[in-house]
Symmetry: C2
Subunit: 219 residues, 2 copies
């Protein structure tokens, strides 16, 4: 299993994810070999970028031939940590938390939402997507007992930092934050945020001012 050199751009991992998805689509269509050129056309990414990204992790292709789709998928699955299952909890049982809990794309990738937490009396005990909503007092115990490593924050912005603190204390190793606010986590806890309004604001900006035609997905 490939491991290779140096540092690589942060965006590489994100692109690997896109490659992975495109390759899945190709297997579904029964295609078993693809060139960086062909893949690049599909994804609107330069072939040289694709080759460079992959080269950070190994030599997956065959010169003159391209990449074996199944093999590359296997390697990417390993690199992206998708060859195992992850237990995930969601904090915040509002509309967004409920949607995330039931989002089909997560389970398909091995991210299993195993419980939902909230601190509101009238949500605790309710059932969402087959899961009972638990109170925050059960958080620490649940995380320990169920070996939960990843948490998703889906609470209002003002509560996000408090939740992040509790999650960190409970032993959570990675946090995905949907709340529209900047939060700080201790060393050792991985953190990424998904910001819904920021993207809309960027669109609004480009509609108002920019002459740029099309806009490359920048995340």
């Amino acid at each position: 299993m490939a491991r290779k050199k140096h540092k690589f751009p942060k965006t590489t991992i994100e692109r690997l994810s896109y490659y992975f998805r495109a390759l899945e689509e190709l297997t579904r269509r029964g295609i078993d070999t693809v060139s960086s050129e062909a893949l690049g056309t599909r994804l609107n990414i330069k072939p040289s970028q694709i080759r460079k990204d992959l080269s950070y992790f190994g030599d997956f292709g065959k010169r003159g031939m391209g990449y074996d789709v199944k093999y590359l998928l296997k390697e990417l699955r390993y690199i992206l940590g998708l060859d195992r299952n992850w237990n995930v909890i969601v904090v915040g049982a509002g509309n967004l938390g409920a949607a995330i809990t039931q989002y089909p794309g997560f389970m398909k990738r091995g991210f299993n939402v195993v419980s939902l937490f909230d601190n509101s009396k009238n949500k605790i005990g309710a059932e969402i997507g087959g899961l009972k909503v638990r109170g925050m007092d059960e958080l620490q115990g649940f995380v320990k007992e169920n070996n939960v490593e990843i948490a998703i924050i889906a609470v209002p912005g003002h509560a996000a930092q408090t939740v992040a603190d509790r999650l960190s204390r409970a032993g959570i190793k990675a946090i995905l934050n949907f709340a529209p606010s900047h939060i700080v986590v201790p060393d050792g806890v991985r953190y990424l945020s998904v910001d819904l309004t920021t993207k809309l604001e960027a669109l609004a900006y480009y509609m108002s001012f920019s002459k740029d035609k099309l806009w490359k997905v920048f995340s």
Copy 2:
């Protein structure tokens, strides 16, 4: 109202959005002046980065004094296109579409979801967040009559491209795509995507392999 020089990094707009949010928080707390240093500490962004970002659009600060919070807010509001209202439609009335429709952060910023569309018989006519779900056949007419410029796609991946095509034909000017697939839009239509699983996959990667401690929000 400021307009200024050259090109600037794509990420600048995203950061302006963060600055805007932080400044809002500062006004709420009654603080009316802030330095790039202080703002940078809050957001974990280098002061020089903040000054550079702002300098692309104008001279908003006073040397020796910092930035007037209210004034900078006003300018950023203008730059980000938040000084007006936008009519937004959501396509896809599943869990995610419903959550997006009711997401409080959008309306607060002037993004008003004015209708929800779906093509499933048993969703059409239902009411979500006070809005009736409309069939796709009403799309074109609705967009024209209501001056809708922005659409949010919240359908399964395989349907996203078809939806994007219909939206473009209907005259939509910007698309925010939550579906986990790469889509192509005609020139003149702005496009950004928010990818939920990609972020989780990035976290999974960093948990498996990376020694990096903390991870700067990269969107």
